[in-house]
Amino acid sequence: MSPRLRRLHGRLARAIGAEAMDRLVDPILTDIRMERRLAIRQLRPWKSRWVVAAGTVSLAAALVSYGWVNFWSFQRWPAEDRLACARTLKCFAAVTPVAMALLILQVWPQGWHPTAPVMFITRLTLQTVPIAILFGLLLSVLYGLHGTIVALRSSAAVLILSSVCSLASFAMLAWIVPETEWRFRVAVTGDSNISRRVNELTLGELRDHIAAERRLGEEPTGTALSYHARWALAAAPAVMATWALLVVACGDGRRWVTALAAVATWAGYVAFIGLGRAATFYGVVPPSFGAWSPNLALGIAALLLAGRITFPRQRTANIEP
């Protein structure tokens, strides 16, 4: 076995476990090597290259197929992974509504409007969903996976959950929240012909508004920031979940370190939102950069943290039942 292949073999073994290596990877590698040797013996260099390329594709397809099948057979997951994922989901289901309630209570005294109580509560509840989801994801991943060796399947489950959260946030921010905001104002004023404000425009309308402002020669800083911030906040759950996974994977298992990481992450994220807004309004950075700066900061921090992960922390039978 060549040194390069041996390295690849070792990495795969650590990632997917000995049984999968025995049943899946080794037979395919053997096939590729035998076919390649045969082609070389027959003096067919292009065929030997083709065998390697096709074999690599087959190996990738087999790994994806194996991972997919194993991911969905929950009863075959190791108990540790099952418990960790269940703990993460329970924590997410508990923390998100509490965070929503806290955010609503914070705004309630200033915004309460007795003429449209139902619309007021609906509007506030929907407004809090994207932020509460973000906070819930951070805490639930840090708490749920704390002290475990983060397996490939647990990471995949968390990333799927975060992608669903991102999609839900996007739907909220792009259409549902602006529409509710406008309906609330209509209910309060009793006038259905009032024009929409920036926060009441859907994503498409906001884009048209920015184009219209540019045509008039105005600089649409606020509108553009609102537009980009919606995209950035919708993408935030995926970025936050990735970051939280890396924090758990690199953590030393001490509870206070994880708690400190949670507080520092949230404080840092909120601070970057403020910094990004301020820098945009002072003209230091464009609106897109200002809106995306919290995600960018978290992404860069995640990349730096990813470099610190040492592979032996992975359990040998990671995808193994």
Binding site: P27, T30, R33, S58, L59, Y66
Partner: protein, 105 residues
């Protein structure tokens, strides 16, 4: 095989049926031989996943052959049908033979 993995209802997908037929005919074979013998009906990317699943179900068993020198030190895994696999294949083939007489010829 881990008995906990054995399904309560014995099922046989078309691919599993084909693999069992080939293994019953040839007594034993390795993955690439099965792919070649299937004439394009089995793909190299999925055959080992299917073989692993069939091993879990108890339809086939496998052993490691001594590493052929041309394989660069990696041993080949040889598969053969188990009595359960043969029974399941018979049970699934019988209705087909009854419904489509041409198949049994």
């Amino acid at each position: 095989m881990n008995p906990a993995r054995r399904p309560r209802v014995l099922t046989l997908s078309p691919k599993e049926s084909l693999i069992l037929q080939l293994l019953v005919r040839d007594k034993e074979a390795y993955g690439l031989e099965l792919v070649a013998a299937s004439r394009g009906r089995l793909k190299r990317g999925t055959v080992y996943v299917t073989l692993g699943r069939m091993e879990d179900k108890g339809y086939i068993t496998s052993r490691l052959e001594d590493a052929p020198p041309e394989a660069g030190g990696l041993p080949r895994r040889i598969y053969r049908p188990t009595p359960l696999g043969r029974q399941v294949l018979d049970a699934w083939s019988a209705p087909v033979r009854f419904l489509v007489p041409a198949v049994s010829r």
